[in-house]
Amino acid sequence: MLENPATHRPVFLRSSAAPIRDSRGAIAGAVVVARDVTEVVDLERLKDQFIRVAAHELKTPAAILKGYALTLMRTDERLSPPSRRMLEAIDRGADRLNRIVEDLVDVSQAFLDVLQLSPSPVGLRELVRETVAEVPVTDLHRIVVRDREGPLTVSADPARTRQALRILLDNAIKYSPAGGTIEVAVDADSERVRVSVRDCGVGIPTQGQDHIFRLFYRAHTDTPHDYGGMGIGLYMAREIIKRQGGRIWFESREGEGSTFFFTLPLARQVAAS
């Protein structure tokens, strides 16, 4: 290990190399450039540490908000309907706070390349149906699922895959402010399962389409359809799908809605030996 003689700390190097050729094209030597990136690595770790500490500290107040709101709702029988709605809003606010905190932790882990994925055999049809059932339905939106008979088993981390699908579903609702039907379809060929989420919402502006999977990029910033958010969801969804051997993409036209697709490889049937 290389050590900085002044600080006695390990040094991180990012290196690149290229051959040096003589006049006949034979390799005569090489040039190697090593750049000291210790400060960059230190800064990344410091950022991760900060996010972890902040996340930990924010979860306790979120637990207090959620816990008391739910307990009041369940124990006070004289609660008026408006008071009940206020408590429900506090509960939702606590959930949202928690999701933001978890997103930040996830992004930090994805950035440091330490995102935890524990693959196991998962029935994707069931996973899709369960995830759709968890989405809070509004009076405006309806989610329909189209899938096909038979097992569609993939090898994936169930919680992370749910998270990726949930991001697409939440976006579909968020960017369909006028309401409408959101269509979720599950198809498969012999190699992979394909899931799609289609909405009839505001669509993605053409100039933003190349960037929407980029971390912190928000296609609707400063447009009438800026419904908030941090630009984390699609980045995370892509990281999760990519790391499980899948692909994620979309088709969209501004004003006509968007369809997001992702694939995951079907689990191979392993013959019993």
Partner: protein, 132 residues
């Protein structure tokens, strides 16, 4: 221990959260003691033996892990522990201290009381029975 109800020790340094956990458990008829760190929890265990312990991990003076180690060292037979933590790897934290269950903050109080009920009902759980 009366059927269905028990003596639960809540170990949590945040007073509002400790009060919440105590409140929802009392509503279900449990007797509750509260300690705000591992050191106080050891004293509480000496005073009145709990049937179950809800344990926060990150606490001043003595943290959850140190408490669990010391508690097991002292007691021949220990109550099951449920780790209640804000750490993003709650399940691993629980496994590290040999806990019988875990709850990630923030949580639905019903999930907490349900888990307590389940652990009190299931005597086959290895942690409920005396060790060695």
């Amino acid at each position: 221990m009366r059927t269905g109800t028990a003596r639960v020790l809540v170990v949590e340094d945040d007073p509002d959260l400790a009060a919440l956990e105590a409140e929802v458990l009392k509503l279900r008829g449990h007797e509750v003691d509260v300690a705000s760190n591992g050191r106080e929890a050891l004293e509480a265990v000496d005073r009145a033996r709990p049937d179950l312990i809800l344990l926060d991990m990150k606490m001043p003076v003595m943290n959850g892990r140190e408490f669990a180690d010391e508690y097991r060292r002292r007691e021949p037979s220990t109550a099951p522990i449920v780790v209640v933590t804000a750490a993003d790897d709650a399940q691993r934290r629980a496994a590290e201290v040999g806990a019988s269950g875990w709850i990630a903050k923030p949580f639905d109080p019903d999930a907490l009381v349900d888990q307590v009920a389940r652990l009190l009902m299931d005597p086959s759980d290895p942690d409920v029975n005396p060790r060695g």
